[in-house]
Structure formats: structure tokens, C-alpha cells
Amino acid sequence: MNGRFLRNVFIKGLLLFAAFNLIWAAFNPSPGNISAYNLILRGRERLPFGEDSASSYNLSLYDLDAMFASLRLAGAPKTPDEFRVFVIGDSSSWGTLLRPEETLAGLLDKAGLTTEDGRTVRVYNLGYPTLSLTKDLMVLDIAMQYEPDLILWPVTLESFPRERQLESPIVANNSDRVAYLIERFDLGLDAPVNEASFWDSTIIGQRRALADLLRLQLYGVMWSATGIDQTYPTDYEPAARDLEADESFGDWLPPSIPADGLVWDVVAAGMQRAGEVPVVLINEPVLVSAGANSDVRYNFYYPRWAYDQYRASFESTCTANDWTCLDLWDVIPEERFTNSAIHLDPQGEAILAGKIIETGVIK
């Protein structure tokens, strides 16, 4: 080995590295579709999400292709005797503090339902723990390729404010998809601009996304081995029952929600995107507190005036558009809420699933 040889190795290594980066950036592949899930790993029951990866064997990433590819749904071809139901929505659909089988989707799936024409009802959890209807629309848009027969869409007021639609990281990091949806459905949102440079398309620029993709596959091993996809603390801060005497809802103050403050256009876009597939819009249960200042607020999230107006808007919009809607806001007893005014314990979820089955919307 001499100095010249070393220099050549160094230069060749550098050139190869630069070439790989440039080729990668030029072709801009979507490695998210390559997944070990449903091949050697068990498909996940819900979309990947998690902050404490080491103990939840899960992680938050922004590659929706990779997220969907990790789902059991992606490896379950639809059979003629299957009636496929998707539950989209926020953390209450995803199931914070709940095991996959304890979520609304899990319970409905386990209920052994069959349709009037004898098909078996299979329910898939496509909830994702951020509050934004635009995020729901984005998930719904991708989910349509998996041929649903019915979509259950639990929503809550917190997901509706127009100014919060693009805030969540999953939305902010999928600006192309969101911009496309905004343009296609003419939504009243400012389309985000994709500011990614050529550099961002190289392997170096995408190192975080690529590392996340790899970690998603590795945590799939732990998910397959343990069936755990979130941490279940034995002790958590329960949702507040005693509330501040605060009448504000974000920047909104009484007496009324600003005109066009709620993104009904996004909901309408979801209905339009679903096309022939029926969508049931569900005003999800919220904690109705009986504690201090409960005459001012229903819970930590909602002052009474805002939530009441939202419910009125929910009813009138559903009626006006002839949408199938269920207002189940107060069907769950206060003691069945866990760490948030919209998170239920397993018994609460069972009550909710029972109520939905009772309505006969799954038929």
C-alpha cells in the first residue's frame, strides 16, 4: 500500500458517493413502497406513530407510502365475501392507550358482523393521532386504492379550525399531496409550497427519511414478536375534569364561530373523493365534565358556546348535503375517558362500537 493507492481509493470513493447521490436525486425513487411487512413481518394494525420508539416499537414518519405499506391492509387482498370498512380519524380512532383489538376498528372487526348480502365485515384502523381533517382527507385519498365498501369518519371540533389544518407534521411534510388535494377539490386553504431543493432529493438530503424507513422495518420485527405498537403507562394524567373559566376556543371568542372557520369544504372533499363508497361522518364522543367551571366548558378542549355551535353546524351541514351522520358526542359516561377529552378506555370504546352497530350503518 502506498500513498498513491490511498489517494486513489479516497478519490474513487468520493466520486462513487457523489455519483450515487446524483443518480438517486435524478431518479427520485420512492423506497417507501418497498416493505418487509406482510412478507416476512406481520402487517401492522394501525398506521405507524410513536415518540418513544425503544419501548413502543413504533415511530412517527412522514412517508405515507411506507406507512400504508406497513399495514395489514396492504397485504390483505379483498375477497368477494369481504365487506371492507375503514375507520379514519384522529387519535381516538387510532387508539391512544388502547391495544389494537380494543380500538373502535378492532372491536367492530371482532364483532363478527355480516352484511345483509352475507359478506363478512372486516374493519381496518386508518386513524392517525393528529387533529386535522386535511390529514384525514389525505389518508382517505390513499386509502381508496384499497377498495373500501364503507368509511367511518369520526371527527371532532378540534380537527375543524381552518388555520390548524396544515400544522401537523404529517401534513406539513407531505406538501405535494396536500397541495394536490387543495387544488383538486378547490379547498379554502393556502396550498403549501414544496421548498425542497435538488440537494434535498439526494441520499444525504433524504438520510432522515431513509433511516426512518429502515427503522420502521426493524421495529416491525419487534411488533411481530410482541404485538406491541405503543407504550401503555400504568399511570397517566387523567383528562381534566376541573376546568378554567375560559370561554375561548383557540383564537375564537364568543358569541360565534367565525364564518368559514370550520373546514366543511374539506369534509365535502372527502365525501367527493369517496365517490360511490358511503361515508358515515361521526361526531365522536367527548368528555362532558361535571367539575369546576363545567358550566363554561364541556372539557379541556371545548367551551360550551363553541361546541354547541359546532354541533348545530354539524347537523345542518349533514342535512343540507344529505350525508349520513351520527352525532354521538355524549354517549360515553365521563368515567370512561382516559388521558384526554376524546380518548376512551376499552369499555368506552365497546359502548361506542355498540352504539354504531345499533344504528345499522354497517349493512
Binding site: 481509493v9 420485527v221 414478536a225
Partner: protein
């Protein structure tokens, strides 16, 4: 160790490499090795919750090393001037580090703010005074074998204390009490002493070799550099002093070969540690996921992942240490030689953490075997093998930690080696016949290699988990009997 820390250490090694390129600066190599090695034990020392302890433990390391040198060096071979200069260098380095309490370097040089300078000066003076008196005293009255044995026993005692959670917890309580800190918060991990395990091995090696007259004469700086050489301070290899000295004393004239060899080992080591091992760590068996396993197949995968993770982690560190050593003109012995590809357990241990097993062989296994074989009442060969294999492996297990699981891991390997030894002995005629048929021999070798790996991998279940019950639960799961 974080990647940044390793890169900084590589940077230090590169400084020495570059300075050695020119004849004028080449002489600085030893001096820089001494200063860097002393500084690194403060820098890498983990932060400890007991006030000041993460400064005093490295100081204690230095005191121990100085004491080790006094005990192992012959008075007539000591050069007074050089010794004083080197002592001054070590003390100056410590003082400089202590003075960083007055600048915003906390967390950069030391994990927490160094103690008050006056206290540091007082302690250093006290240590210096004691060692100086010993230095003078040992010139007049040579230290006998008793002192060497006492020193070895003292090191072993500290070692036992550090490895016994109940004792470390108690000491933590006492130290917290002295410091006016809450005793209730005392924990057995409050006394993490950077590199003590490896330092202890090197000290015992020099003390024992001094006792047997095999230790070469070493100047104070050489002794410090040998014991504290920063590439090997936290994870070995455990070099032998005579071999290390040859490299240290040889004029180091860097060439492309050293740079190429070092770069290769560093790249391989970094890849093993920070890519392979760290990725495998996500799916490797551990105390938490052991109780969450739901199926046999996945349980095996986690055990195999652990087996590979510990190999890549440890051998990766070794590669990095060897690479850094090459940059400074020191060629460390190899520590791993494809251990999972060996056809029997004895060969596995001859190729896994080789410098550790060689240490135990030299200072425990061989002397014990000799003692048993030369016993007045003859001990049967099989019993000699049983006693030596099991006791050696038990000690290696205890070196990792004084818990029941490490004892069981040692027993697992000790018994495994004994059985393998007896089996090999019993089937020797058959083995000879098989060896004459290459195809059959290859098949048998593949089978025994897989069997050995399987045995070692299962042994890691004891090693990786914190309790016997958890390990038994995992074994139950591995054999399809889990609930």
C-alpha cells in the same frame, strides 16, 4: 461511546500521526500520548450524581497507576529526573482540567464542574506526598512480594465492590451522606468508574509479571501510557506490556501503509458499531422485550439478533481501537477472529475476546492446571479439566458482573467446554476417520459450527437478561412451551 467521542479520539490519534511525520516533532509522540491518555480518562468518565465523584474517580485511577508503577519498577532502573518531569506533566494536566471550572467548558472536558481548585491542589499534594515517600522508601528498602500480592488483592477488592450492586449502593449512600446529598436516591450505578475493569487487568498483569520477574523495565510515562492508552481504555484489547513497549519505544515513522491499515480498521469498526450493532440493538433480546415475546420463532430471532449485536458492537470497538493504535504506531493484538464460525466451543473462546481469555489463561487457568497436576495426591485428568474450565469461565462471568445470571452464563460455557472436551476425547478415532473424507468432514464441520453458534447464542440469554426467572421464561418460549 458516541460517534462524536470516537471521532474526537481519532482526531487525537491523527494529531500524533501527523506530528510523527516530521523528525523534529516526532519526539512529542510519547509526551502527547501521556497527556491525551490522562485527559481522556476525565473526558470519557460518565457523569455521576454524587458531587465531584466524576472528577475524583479519574484522579484515583491516576493514583492507582502511579502506585502500580512504584510497586513494579525497580528502584535502580528509575530515572529521577524523567520521573519528576512526567509526574509534573500528569499533575499539570489534572490541574489544567480542574481549572476549567472557571471557564465555560463544563461538559466538554469533564462531565460536570470540577471541584474547587484548592481542594484539588490539596488532594494532589497529598497523593504526591504519599507516593513520593513511597518512592524514597522503596529506594532504600525494595518492596517485597508481599506488597505486590497486597496490591493485587486490593485491586480485586475494589473490583468486587464495583461489581456487587449491594455494595456499590451502600458506598453510594455513604458518599452521598458525606456530600450532604439525599441517601434515598443512592443507586448501584452511581459508581461507574471509566475503564476500571481494563485498568485492573493491566495493573494485575504488571504486578504479577513483576512478581515472576518477567516484567520489562518501564519508565513512569511508559507505564501510564500502557495502562491508560486511550484507544483501549473503555473496551480493550488488553495488550501485554512487553509487546506494547516494543511498539512504544520503536521510532514511529508514519507511512501510507499505517494510514491505509488504520483507515480500513476504523471504517470497518465504525460500520460494525454504528450501523450493524446499533441497528441490531433495536431488535436484540433485552430485559424489557424478553417478557413481551409472543411466539417461538420471533424469540429465536431476538436471541440471534443479540448474539450478532454483541459481536458487532464489541468487535467494532476493537477495530476502532486497533485503527487508532495504528495511527500512533501501536499495533494492538486482535481480539476477535470470526468466533461464530468456529466448529467447537474451545475454538470459539480462542477467538472471542481473545486478549481477555489469554489473560485468564496466563494468570488463572494455566497456574491452576499446573497446581492441580502437580498436586501430591493425583487428580484425575477429567477432574482437572472440569475444575479449571468451570472456574475460569465462572471468573470471566463474574468479571462482567456479580449477578446470578453472569454466574450461570459462566457455568453454561464452563460445562459446555468440559463436555466438548470429553466428547472430543471420546470420539477422537471417529474424528480422525472423518477428517480423511473431505466432503464428510466439511458437512460435519458445518454442523458443529452451527451447533456451537446455537449453544453460544443460547448462552447469551443468561448474559443479556437481568434475572434467572426472565431467562428461564425466554428458554421456555424458545422451546415452544411459553404461555
Amino acid at each position: 461511546m458516541w460517534l462524536t467521542s470516537i471521532l474526537i479520539l481519532v482526531g487525537l490519534a491523527l494529531i500524533i500521526f501527523l506530528l510523527s511525520l516530521w523528525p523534529r516533532t516526532r519526539a512529542l509522540r510519547k509526551l502527547l500520548l501521556l497527556v491525551f491518555s490522562v485527559g481522556v480518562i476525565f473526558w470519557l468518565q460518565p457523569a455521576l450524581p454524587i458531587r465531584g465523584l466524576d472528577f475524583w474517580l479519574p484522579v484515583a485511577t491516576l493514583a492507582l497507576v502511579a502506585l502500580g508503577w512504584l510497586l513494579t519498577s525497580k528502584a535502580e532502573e528509575r530515572e529521577v529526573r524523567a520521573t519528576l518531569v512526567n509526574t509534573g506533566l500528569v499533575i499539570s494536566t489534572v490541574l489544567l482540567i480542574a481549572l476549567t471550572r472557571y471557564v465555560s467548558l463544563t461538559g466538554w472536558i469533564t462531565p460536570s464542574r470540577p471541584p474547587q481548585t484548592l481542594i484539588v491542589v490539596a488532594v494532589l499534594c497529598a497523593i504526591f506526598a504519599v507516593l513520593f515517600l513511597l518512592f524514597i522508601f522503596s529506594r532504600r528498602v525494595p518492596l517485597g512480594a508481599g506488597a505486590l500480592v497486597a496490591a493485587m488483592l486490593a485491586i480485586l477488592l475494589v473490583f468486587v465492590v464495583l461489581k456487587l450492586p449491594a455494595l456499590t449502593q451502600w458506598i453510594s449512600e455513604v458518599l452521598r451522606g458525606w456530600n450532604g446529598q439525599s441517601r434515598e436516591l443512592a443507586s448501584s450505578i452511581d459508581l461507574r468508574w471509566l475503564g476500571f475493569s481494563y485498568i485492573a487487568f493491566r495493573l494485575i498483569h504488571t504486578l504479577r509479571d513483576r512478581q515472576s520477574g518477567r516484567l520489562p523495565a518501564m519508565a513512569l510515562d511508559e507505564y501510564f501510557i500502557y495502562v491508560l492508552f486511550f484507544p483501549a481504555i473503555s473496551a480493550g484489547p488488553i495488550d501485554r506490556s512487553e509487546r506494547f513497549l516494543r511498539d512504544l519505544r520503536k521510532p514511529f515513522i508514519p507511512a501510507a501503509e499505517e494510514l491505509g491499515g488504520a483507515s480500513k480498521r476504523l471504517v470497518i469498526g465504525l460500520f460494525k458499531k454504528f450501523v450493524l450493532a446499533d441497528l441490531l440493538a433495536l431488535i436484540a433480546l433485552n430485559g424489557t422485550n424478553a417478557s413481551q415475546l409472543t411466539s417461538t420463532g420471533w424469540a429465536w430471532l431476538l436471541v440471534y439478533a443479540y448474539a450478532l449485536q454483541i459481536f458487532f458492537d464489541f468487535s467494532g470497538y476493537t477495530d476502532i481501537a486497533i485503527g487508532m493504535g495504528l495511527l500512533m504506531g501501536v499495533k494492538f493484538p486482535e481480539n476477535f477472529n470470526a468466533p461464530y464460525l468456529k466448529p467447537n466451543l474451545t475454538q470459539f473462546w480462542n477467538n472471542w475476546h481473545m486478549t481477555l481469555t489469554q489473560w485468564f489463561r496466563a494468570y488463572f487457568f494455566n497456574p491452576l492446571t499446573r497446581a492441580l497436576r502437580s498436586a501430591k495426591k493425583p487428580v484425575p485428568v477429567w477432574l482437572v479439566i472440569l475444575i479449571t474450565q468451570i472456574s475460569t469461565m465462572l471468573l470471566i462471568g463474574l468479571w462482567h458482573g456479580m449477578t446470578l445470571n453472569f454466574i450461570l452464563w459462566g457455568l453454561w460455557h464452563g460445562l459446555g467446554m468440559f463436555i466438548q472436551n470429553r466428547w472430543s476425547d471420546w470420539t477422537r478415532p471417529l474424528s480422525t476417520r472423518i477428517q480423511q473424507k473431505p466432503a464428510l468432514n466439511r458437512i460435519v464441520t458445518i454442523f458443529t459450527t452451527l451447533l456451537t453458534f446455537q449453544f453460544v447464542a443460547m448462552g447469551w440469554v443468561w448474559f443479556a437478561l437481568p434475572s434467572v426467572q426472565t431467562s428461564l421464561d425466554v428458554f421456555t418460549r424458545l422451546f415452544g412451551m411459553g404461555g
